[in-house]
C-alpha cells in the first residue's frame, strides 16, 4: 500500500507542505517494504484545478492513503471518489514525523 505525504522538498526530514494541490511534491512510502521516493507535483503551478489534478496524479501512482494538512472541498470530493483515504495531519513537521504518526495510528486501535 502506498502512502503519500505532501512535502516541500525531497528527503525523509523534509518539511511537510501544508498545502495539498500546490504542494511542491509528494513523499511516497510503500507500507510493506518501507521503500520511499519523492515525486514532483505536476499541478503545483496549474492555473486552476491544482487540487483535483493532484488527486489524479496520486491515483495514477497507486496511492491508497494521503496524509495531509489541508485539503480543499473539490480535492476532498475527488479523493473520496478515487477511494483514497485522507488522514489529517496535526502539526507533524517533517515527512518522517508524519510517517511515524501514521504507523502509530495503524498499531493503536
Amino acid at each position: 500500500m502506498i502512502i503519500a505525504i505532501p512535502a516541500h522538498a525531497e528527503g525523509w526530514n523534509a518539511e511537510v507542505d501544508e498545502r495539498f494541490g500546490r504542494a511542491r511534491g509528494f513523499a511516497l512510502v510503500d507500507s510493506e517494504s518501507g521503500a520511499w521516493r519523492f515525486v514532483d507535483n505536476g499541478t503545483a503551478d496549474a492555473e486552476h484545478g491544482a487540487g483535483t489534478g493532484a488527486v489524479r496524479s496520486l491515483l495514477q501512482l497507486g496511492v491508497a492513503v494521503l496524509l495531509a494538512g489541508r485539503v480543499g472541498p473539490k480535492a476532498a470530493e475527488a479523493l473520496e471518489a478515487a477511494g483514497i483515504t485522507c488522514l489529517t495531519l496535526e502539526g507533524q513537521g517533517s515527512v518522517a514525523e508524519a510517517w511515524n504518526w501514521y504507523k502509530q495510528q495503524r498499531t493503536t486501535p
Partner: protein, 293 residues
Amino acid sequence: MKRIVVMSGKGGTGKTTFTAALAAIAPLPIVLADCDVDAANLHLLLRPVAAQQQRFLAGALPVFDSRSCSHCGMCASACVFEAITLRHGQYAVDAAACEGCGICARVCPDGCISMTQRLTGHTIEAVSRFGQPMVYAQLCVGQENSGKLVTRVRQLTDERARSEGVDFVLVDGPPGLGCPAIAAMSGVDALLLLAEAGAAGAHDLARMIELRARFGMPAACIVNKADLDAVSRAGILERCEREEIPVLAEFPWSPLFPESLRQGRTLTEMPEAPFRASLDFIWTSLLNHGVTS
C-alpha cells in the same frame, strides 16, 4: 513565520481598507502581500516605492509557423471564439478573443500551430511607504486572477520575509471562494474575516466559514458597516459565536471610509486617527490571543 490572510467572501467589505490601516500601525516588522489581483489596490493606499517587476506567464496562446501552413482554414473554423482570422494571407490569432483552449493546434493537419504561454501580468516587489516590503501583481487587460498567480505572489512574499528576517506576513486576500481564494488560504496560520452587515455580506461570510472549516485554521472576525442592517449583524455575531470565531471589533458605516480612500490615506492617517483603539486591539489580538497560534 506567521501568515495571516484577510478574507471575506463578498467583495467590497473593506479587506484592503483594513489591511492598509493595520499595516500603517503595525507594531512589528511585517511583509505585505496583495493577493486580490483582479482588483489589486493595496498599493494605492500604501504607495510603494522601489518597485521591481517580473513578467508573469500563464495560460496558452497559439503561435503559427506560417512556413508549413497549407491555408486549409481548419483552425479558424474550429475556433468557437472566432479568434483566428486570415490577415494579409496568413492565419493569426486575436489574443484578446482567444481563450487558450488549444483546439486549433489539435485540428491543424500541418502541425504548424504550437501553444505557448502568454504574458498575463506582472508581479511587483516593492516597499510600502511605511517601509514594509510588499508584493502585489498587475494583470494585463482581459486577464484574470488564478491560483497560480496567488501562489506566485505568496511565494515571493515568503522569500522576501525570509531574506529580510521578518516573521509576520499580512495578506490582503481575494474575494470569492474559488481557486484564488483557496490558493490564498492554504497553509496560512489564521484568517482575519471581514464581514459586512448586510444580506450579501452575511451570506458570503457563512460560505467562507464553511470553507475555513475544511482547512481548520484559527479565524477571527471584524464586522464592518455594522450599523447597516441589524438583522444581518445579529446573524453574523451568532454564527461567529457558534463557530467560536472571536469578533475582534465592529465598525459603523462612516463617511470617513470613502473620504480616506479618496485622499489615498489609511484610516489612521485621517484627522484624529479614527478607530485607532479598535485597530490597536485587532493587532493585540492577532499577536496575543491565540489567533496566530
